[in-house]
């Protein structure tokens, strides 16, 4: 653990240092380049706002109405039949939709069942091995104005499903059910 926390503590300052030293060495006008690139950041952040507002409002309505819980309830028997513990189902469903909600659920599962329980470990691995597909799709495509996303969402969700199944199998194998 010591090594990992040291690495994660050092990595960002190290990257900043390398970029600045390399830039100076190559005689790039560092500060001016920084400001120039930074201006673009403001533009991008503002342009994402409508995309994200639209998506998060729809997700919030879906969740607050209880419709999400309803769907999870529908899926539950089928998942339990193939050996997926019911408690993990809401997290697995929420993970691709909302990052903050998933993080909340992971903390909740770890708090309730303990970090070293089967469910605690499964929640940890699931949280770490998949990402919020809908958010990434919205931000990345929204920022550059892609309106037709082709099969991106379908493939992203399928990859999430592979990640969920893999997490369950791997955690069962490593730590036993």
């Amino acid at each position: 653990m010591g090594v990992i926390s040291t690495v994660s503590l050092w990595i960002i300052p190290l990257i900043i240092g390398i970029i600045l030293i390399h830039g100076t060495w190559k005689q790039v006008p560092t500060y001016e380049s920084f400001v120039e690139g930074g201006k673009e950041g403001i533009k991008i952040a503002v342009s994402i706002i409508p995309f994200l507002v639209g998506m998060l409002v729809a997700i919030s309505i879906f969740r607050a109405s209880g419709a999400l819980d309803f769907f999870v309830g529908l899926l539950r028997p089928a998942l339990e039949w193939i050996g997926v513990p019911a408690e993990i189902v809401p997290l697995a469903v929420i993970r691709p939709i909302s990052g903050t909600a998933a993080l909340g659920m992971t903390s909740d599962l770890i708090a309730t069942y303990g970090p070293d329980s089967f469910l605690g470990r499964l929640a940890s691995v699931l949280q770490g091995s998949t990402d919020t597909t809908l958010y990434i799709l919205t931000v990345y495509f929204g920022a550059v104005g892609i309106k037709k996303m082709g099969d991106a969402l379908k493939i992203g969700l399928m990859a999430d499903f592979v990640g969920i199944v893999a997490s369950i199998l791997i955690v069962s194998y490593f730590f036993g059910n």
Binding site: G37, V139, G156, A159
Partner: protein
């Protein structure tokens, strides 16, 4: 597709609330969701400005290009339409590295820049190109090597061994990324064969 999903979530939620008696929560959710989105974007400004500034220096100094050269053989196979010397290559690589080290905040601006370059490569069209979809799938399947957030939560709740999930997470990530790439290829070649593209 995204239009349908979006409308479905909102409309089904509202209809569901009518029968479930949760209209009050839905009312709150509308404004909370909107507020959360704006807060998120405002919060993104700081990281976007900082990392895009840093990346501009790295780009001007040629650091991004050297990085791209190093890993080109692997990434070139994943993105066959992106010319080796194109700036998109360096940005894709930097985004992947930022993701691997769990620098989610740094990865987003790089990913957006990479998307911009991919869009330019695609003639600025409004539909997602093959490379854009591949890039997106790799991103959504998570490339994290060190899941820092999860480690922090586990430590918070006094795990006997917070880091024991790193290896299983790594294997699961590998499965979902590989799976994502394979599914992506499958869809592409299926379409290609049918002559849709």
């Amino acid at each position: 597709m995204i239009n349908l999903i979006w409308v479905f979530m909102a409309v089904f939620g509202i209809i569901f609330a009518m029968f479930n008696g949760t209209m009050e929560e839905v009312n709150k959710a509308v404004f909370q969701g909107a507020e959360e989105a704006v807060t998120l974007c405002i919060g993104l400004i700081s990281v976007l400005v900082f990392w895009l500034g840093m990346m501009r220096i790295a780009q001007n100094s040629g650091l991004l290009n050297s990085l791209a050269k190093l890993f080109r053989p692997i990434v070139q196979r994943l993105f066959p339409e992106v010319p080796a010397e194109h700036p998109a290559m360096g940005l894709i690589l930097s985004n992947m590295m930022a993701n691997m080290f769990g620098l989610g905040n740094a990865a987003t601006p790089l990913g957006i820049k990479a998307m911009e370059q991919l869009k330019a490569l695609n003639g600025g069209k409004e539909y997602a190109s093959r490379s854009m979809i591949t890039f997106l799938v790799i991103n959504t399947s998570s490339l994290t090597i060190v899941p820092t957030t999860v480690l922090a939560i586990r430590m918070n709740y006094d795990s006997a061994s917070p880091a024991e999930i790193v290896l299983p997470t790594l294997i699961a990530t590998f499965c979902s990324t590989t799976g994502g790439i394979l599914i992506d290829r499958y869809f592409y070649y299926r379409k290609h064969r049918n002559g849709v593209k």
